[in-house]
Each structure stands twice: as structure tokens, then as C-alpha cells.
């Protein structure tokens, strides 16, 4: 009789084992979202922002743009506030690290597919 190869016993084991993948867009349970995942940019504590533009200067992807504070924003000292263009952001987290006032964070919401670039601007 032909000897079994290395892989056949493994195959038999896998017939009965649990599925390794997740049917992702339909089922979200079972996705590994670790604590500290670097994903969507967020302007977390606007009141503390001074508008110093450090975040804009350090961003390697030129994803942060400083705009004039709109009436509904909390007003910063220099009158500017950052917005993030998600289509350019590479989620490196350098802005979060460099912000002297701890204003920015990267949240763990990783679903960042949009139909238009306009939807990808985070205010």
C-alpha cells in the first residue's frame, strides 16, 4: 500500500476543523482588532488645539491640511485647525506622537472605503 504523505493526515484533520476565515463584510465577529490599532484619524479634543501646525509639518503623506476655523469649530489661538484627508493618510501616527497637546488620536475604526474623495475628509 502506498504510504501516506505528510499532508494527508493534516487534510483529514482539517475536514472537521473550524473554518479559519471570517465571512467578513457580513460577519464581523472573529476579526482581530487589537488594542492600539492605528486606523482612522480623529480630531479628538478640539478645545486643546492651539493651531500650531506641527501636525501638518510632520505628516509624511501631506494628509493634514490646516484650514481656517469654521464658526461651528472650537476656535484655536491661531485661528487654524487641522483636517485630515484620509485618502492620503498612511496611518503612521506621527501626528499623534508629535502633537504637543494630545489633541489627535488614531481610532481603531478600520473601515475606510468611500465612494468619493469628499467623504474622506475628516473634520
Amino acid at each position: 500500500m502506498a504510504r501516506l504523505g505528510k499532508i494527508q493526515p493534516e487534510l483529514m484533520k482539517n475536514v472537521r476543523s473550524k473554518q479559519a476565515t471570517v465571512r467578513y463584510p457580513f460577519v464581523k465577529a472573529g476579526i482581530n482588532v487589537p488594542e492600539g490599532l492605528r486606523a482612522r484619524w480623529d480630531y479628538k479634543v478640539p478645545e486643546r488645539c492651539t493651531g500650531c501646525k506641527i501636525c501638518e509639518r510632520v505628516c509624511p503623506a501631506e494628509a493634514i491640511e490646516m484650514i481656517k476655523c469654521r464658526p461651528e469649530d472650537s476656535q484655536t489661538k491661531t485661528g487654524f485647525r487641522p483636517i485630515c484627508h484620509l485618502d492620503r493618510c498612511v496611518t503612521c501616527g506621527q501626528c499623534v506622537e508629535s502633537c504637543p497637546r494630545g489633541v489627535l488620536i488614531l481610532t481603531d475604526s478600520f473601515e475606510m472605503a468611500f465612494l468619493s474623495r469628499d467623504d474622506m475628509v475628516v473634520y
Binding site: 499532508i7 487589537p34 488594542e35 490599532l37 509624511p60 501631506e62 498612511v90 503612521c92 501616527g93 506621527q94
Partner: protein, 408 residues
Amino acid sequence: MTSAGKRIVIPPRVTIPIGPQHPALKEPGMFKLTVEGEHIVDAEVNIGYNHRSIEKISENNTHLQNLYLASRICGICSATHNGNYAQAVEFAAEVEIPERAKFIRTLIWELDRIHSHILWLGVAFHEVGFDTAFMLSWRDREIVMDMLENISGNRIHHDMSTIGGVRRNISDAQKEQMLKGFDKLEERVVFYRDVAIHEKTFWNRIDGVGMLEPPIAKKTSAVGPTGRGSGLKVDVRFNDPVQAYIPMIDTGDFEMVLSDRGDVAGRSVVRVLEVIEAINMCRWLLNNMPDGPIRARVRPRIQPNEVLARHEAPRGELIHYLITNGTNKPDRWKVRAPTYNNWTSMAHCLRGDYLADAPIILAAIDPCYSCTDRVVIVDGNGETIRLVSLDNLRIESNKWHKEHPRRE
């Protein structure tokens, strides 16, 4: 049929282009194989379809921004480029980073090697048509991907190294979790080692295929597992250790993995055994990690200096050559990725083998095309490809940068 009717057919020489876009290739590259029947009699390798001008972009970026750019040179070995650039800047600034930072940086490098080699093994299984093992090995690669994601916050672009140390610490809970993960991973990798060596489906396709004899490997300066698979003792971790490799190698518990086979099988065996070695290295790093700070302060302006940083990436020796000029931007940054060295031996490996073996021979050096691409200017309208001399390139790129200024 009578014997008189029998015709002897001499197969004509045909040149088959593979690429730039081809199902057997994962990235764009162009191979011209001249075949006689099924035998490859000559091979020509052309690369340069994926040039991204990273070195030029870097001259307009600060060192801090270049870290992230460096990491994006390659998706698979992002940690190596990122860490090696940080190391180069630290050499130039002549600062010593904290011990714990060295250990964490080395740990990320080794984890990167584990996932890169398992990925390669899966690709090798796939290239010879053994897709079951491909799926299984990639499933188990998730163990190390999850570890990297847990400690760095990203699956692919870990971006852990920064100038002066690392960006995130490793907690005790993470350490325990990783040690547990390594036990499971080691069991699986030992199984894949046995599959690679004892499973005839795979072994018969790689045994004696793509021979690269040691003298030729030496002449074409093969590096990494390609060189070690031909018995060359080339491994920067052992020959010229940096970071936490110094105390680790000094323990004498670790050995360079070598094989004198010289064929694709040799390279496969080296890679699989290296994964097991890397798992042991990671365990040692975790268990001996000193306490303390993870980051030293480095001024953004780096003194004028000229340095060469070497590191053993998963594919071989990686060199970053950096000239700093006293500002916070580099004067020149040159990357020599390992695949660049290994290409030279490719034509020799292909010659004399069967056409059907070409994909696995190409895959056996674990090529990373985009790390490698240098300047060619392709004119789509005139249908020309031209190589440009450095002086002309400088004039042209200065012109381009004048016309496309950086957003202020």
C-alpha cells in the same frame, strides 16, 4: 509507421517573453527565455517597471518622514527598511539608543523574518502547484501577523522604529501572549519543514532545480538565503552584528543556517530552518529584554556625516548609505536592497532547466521587484526605453521639482 517515415524533429529556438504583466509573476518584471523545446538555453532578466523615485523624494523630506517612506519601500520587509534607516540616522548623529529599544527593534526584525519566510514558503508551494500547503501555511502565518499587529498597531507597516529608539513598548501581557504564540508557531513550522522535505509532491519539483554552484554564487555576490543555500557564509547578523544581535550572538546558542545543495531545495531548507532559528531568537530576546526607557532624544538636525548601515533583511543583506548635511533632511540616501544582488545570478539559475520550472526558480530568490527598480525612462508615445546618466537625471529631476514645488 515505417522507420523510413520517422522524422527527427529538431525543436526550433524560440524566445518567450514572460512579463511585464504575467500570471506567474506577482510584480512587474520582464524575462526573456530562449527555449529549445522545453529546455531553457538562455535567459535575460529586465527589471525597471516599478520605479517610484523614493530616493529622490527622500531628499525633500525630514528624517522623521523618511522613516515612513522607507518602510513603504517593501510591504513584506517594511520593518527592515524602517529600522535600518533609523539606525543609519542614529549612526550619523552618533547617538546610542537605550538597550530595551535595541531589543524591541531586533525582535520586530526577527518577527518580520518569520512572516516573510513563511510567506515565501507558501508562494513556493503555490508555484509548484501544491496549493493545499500554500493555504495551510498562510493560515498559520496569521499567528505571527497578529503578534506584529498587537505590538505595533498595524499588520504590514509596523513603523516601530523611530530615530533614537522605538515607538511602542512591549507589556508583560503581550510578552506572555507572544511566548504562547511561538509554541504553536514552532509546532506548525516543524510540520511545514517536514512537508517541504518529505512530501514528494514538493520535493521532486525542487530537487536539483535552478542550480547555483557556490563559486558562481560567490562571483555574482548572492546574499541572504540564496547565498546561504549555496553554502556561502553571508549573514550580517553573524558577520557584523548590530543592535541586540551582539549580545544574542555572543551567547553562542545560535548558528548560521547553511546548506551546500545549491538548488531551490537548498534555499527552501535554509528558509524553513531559519524560521525555527528566528523563533528561538525571539524567545531569547523576550526573555532577556532589559527594563528601561525605549527612546533617546535625538535633535532633528543631524550633523554632517556619511554612514553605511547594514542589516540582514529576510532576503539578504540590506544596505542604507546616508549622507547628512547638518539639516534635518538627508543629502543623499541610497538603498541597496538584497534582491538587487540576487538578480545577477538569476540568468545562470534559469539556464539548462525546464520551462515549467521557471516560476519556482524565479520565486526561489524571493524577489522583491519594487525594492530594486532603478531609473529607466519609458516613453509610451515614442515606445522607447532609455537609461539615463546621473548628470542628466539630476538636471531633469531638478527641473521637475522646480515645476512641481512642495505644498507649503
